[in-house]
């Protein structure tokens, strides 16, 4: 018998790291050493905070470059999908490498940029006091889940468990629902918003042919 699925949720509060930067060079140097939960905040939390709106860029780092007139860097960072990573240091390296490769210091502005404030997420995982042993119970559980709960199971659980497979798909695989698991794992979470994702997941789960 497979293990039950335990529904959890994730809440966080932003904490200022005390570090703000005024130039691209400073940004890159800080990115190399900043607390990894600051990278988590700026790359992942935006999925929660902004992806329900048709914003120009996918994360606050890209937006900062855009706002300061570094459009190339904004685009190059924007396409980095943090969901391709389960290790925050790997994501940090990808960001740093992209910036180092595309940053032309000759184009640097003389005046100070609008500052970038490095914030980190202080997280708390809560148990939602719901479990699922069957697919039907699982569907009911998802329907009752907040988007914070989706955020945890689809996004941060992968970092905690060091895997590219999200919690939902992992459990569906364990009960033999490979097709549903694959479809959910392939959802483009970085482009869709969590409200749409929730509807899409329920649709996949309720579709008997998949």
């Amino acid at each position: 018998m497979s293990r039950p699925f335990i529904f959890k949720s994730e809440l966080w509060i932003p904490r200022y790291t005390g570090i703000m930067v005024y130039s691209v060079r400073e940004f890159i140097e800080t990115l190399k050493i900043i607390d990894k939960f600051s990278i988590f905040y700026h790359m992942y939390i935006n999925i929660f905070n902004y992806h329900n709106l048709p914003t120009f860029y996918t994360n606050s780092i890209s937006f900062w470059f855009y706002k300061n007139g570094y459009l190339l860097l904004a685009e190059k960072i924007s396409i980095i999908d943090p969901l391709d990573y389960y290790d925050l240091d790997d994501l940090r390296n990808a960001l740093v490498q992209t910036l180092e490769k595309n940053y032309d210091k000759d184009l640097d502005k003389k005046e100070k940029l609008t500052p970038f404030y490095f914030i980190k997420a202080e997280r708390e995982i809560i148990d939602c006091e719901r479990i699922a042993n069957t697919l039907d119970q699982f569907i009911e559980g998802i329907k009752k889940s907040s988007i914070n709960s989706l955020f945890y199971h689809l996004i941060t659980s992968r970092i905690e468990n060091k895997t590219l497979v999200n919690d939902y798909s992992s459990w569906l695989l364990s009960i033999g629902e490979a097709k549903k698991a694959e479809k959910i794992n392939k959802l483009d979470l970085y482009i869709m918003n969590l409200y749409e994702v929730k509807k899409e997941i329920i649709k996949i789960l309720e579709n008997e042919t998949c």
Binding site: L11, I13, L53
Partner: protein
């Protein structure tokens, strides 16, 4: 009462609040501020405190008592933290601040609480009463990013004894703060009379009562009569807009009887708009919540053209009514409006005028932005999120060293 928020945030969000509050069972929380009436802090606490109690977190709210001399000094301190203006704090003022603080030691019992939130600088000195094991949080509602050094030194004497401080946004944080610093956005209450749904009939009746034509496009700015809110700039923008658009302007607000500057701004506005039949400068009593609500709901475009702003929650109030807002790129306005998505951020009278025209000309644009504006507030600026942030903050502070 919490159930009443389900239509706005969903049952699952309220359920999670209960789950989170279970982790805080048995703790006692105290909020201390400087007034029960007036201002954003009191407005939020009037709702926040009962909600925390409903979650079975025993929460009280007490107010620091002071006289005119004390509050004149704390007002000066507030201003100096906001913008250095060359004024000095003298030793007599410091002694008087401490005297009033000590007098309040007897009146405000802080000993029986686990977590104490001190709102703004006025009651900050109460930290001297801190007992081992207690957690004290300074909740600052002011922009202290560029404080007067003397004012900051005064504040810092107390601040370093706190366990954490909380600001609206990182831009408001002074870089020399060394204690844990969090950012928690303020919020609006969808159940407050100024935010509740109104019938079309009530909106039209209210507009008509003030001589405003509900059928003609309306531009609205709601703010107290203050030069920093730039009502004159709004009027200039309106003059540029009306060259091509037959529209009306409402400048609605109030001024305190003891605020000569506010009265002056109001009179100047009346003077310069006296020949304008489509401009309505309305000085309303402070409790005109439904009227303000009706103006915002009746508006075609809402403007907030402040020259300097704290957080400016009036922007979220308009966004909650599905209105696109044209706001200045300052203070908290830039954290509420997502430029080009929920409204526009502007830097000048001309910028405001062109964005107002764009919105007046295009209903689909307005509807689309208005939709996203409401969603943004639902997601980020309602009191339920604020409450959740406070609960989590309390939990984190209590477990800081574990």
């Amino acid at each position: 009462m919490l159930e009443q928020y389900i239509p706005f945030v969903g049952e699952e969000t309220i359920f999670e609040l209960y789950l989170l509050s279970k982790k805080l069972k048995g703790i006692k929380v105290l909020h201390v501020s400087s007034t029960y009436k007036g201002g954003g802090v009191a407005e939020i606490l009037h709702r926040m405190v009962p909600l925390m109690n409903e979650l079975e977190i025993e929460t009280d709210w007490k107010v620091l008592e002071g006289d005119e001399k004390f509050f004149t000094f704390t007002k000066k301190l507030h201003n100096l933290l906001h913008i250095p203006c060359g004024e000095c704090i003298d030793s007599e003022e410091i002694v008087y601040y401490l005297k009033i603080t000590y007098e309040n030691f007897k009146k405000i019992d802080t000993e029986n609480y686990d977590v104490i939130f001190i709102h703004d600088p006025q009651p900050m000195g109460l930290i001297i009463k801190k007992r081992p094991g207690q957690k004290w949080i300074w909740r600052c509602h002011v922009d202290t990013s560029t404080p007067d050094p003397q004012a900051w030194d005064f504040l810092e004497n107390f601040l370093n004894a706190y366990d954490a401080c909380v600001f609206h946004m990182p831009e408001f944080i002074y870089e020399k703060i060394r204690i844990p610093t969090y950012t928690v956005r303020p919020s609006i209450d969808p159940l407050h009379p100024k935010n509740i749904d109104l019938s079309e009939k009530e909106i039209k009746t209210t507009l008509t009562k003030f001589g405003i034509d509900p059928e003609k496009p309306i531009i609205v700015q709601v703010s107290r009569f203050d030069k920093l809110k730039d009502p004159f700039g709004v009027f200039e923008a309106f003059k540029l807009v009306r060259k091509k658009y037959d529209c009306q302007l409402i400048l609605a607000g109030s001024f305190a009887p003891d605020d000569p500057e506010g009265e002056g701004v109001y009179k100047d506005l009346l003077n310069i708009t006296s020949d304008e039949k489509n401009v309505f400068v309305l000085n309303l009593p402070p409790d005109s919540h439904r009227e303000i609500n009706a103006f915002q709901r009746g508006a075609t475009v809402v403007v907030q053209k402040s020259l300097k702003e704290g957080f400016g929650l009036v922007v979220s109030e308009a966004m909650w009514k599905s209105k696109p807002v044209v706001g200045s790129n300052v203070g908290g306005i830039k954290r509420q409006i997502v430029h080009g998505v929920t409204g526009y951020l502007v830097n000048s009278v001309e910028g405001a005028a062109v964005r107002i025209k764009q919105l007046l000309a295009n209903k689909e644009f307005r509807d689309n932005m208005g939709f996203h504006a409401k969603e943004r507030v639902r997601h980020r600026f309602l009191i339920i999120r604020h409450l959740r942030d406070y609960l989590l903050l309390i939990y984190k502070i209590l477990h800081q060293n574990s």
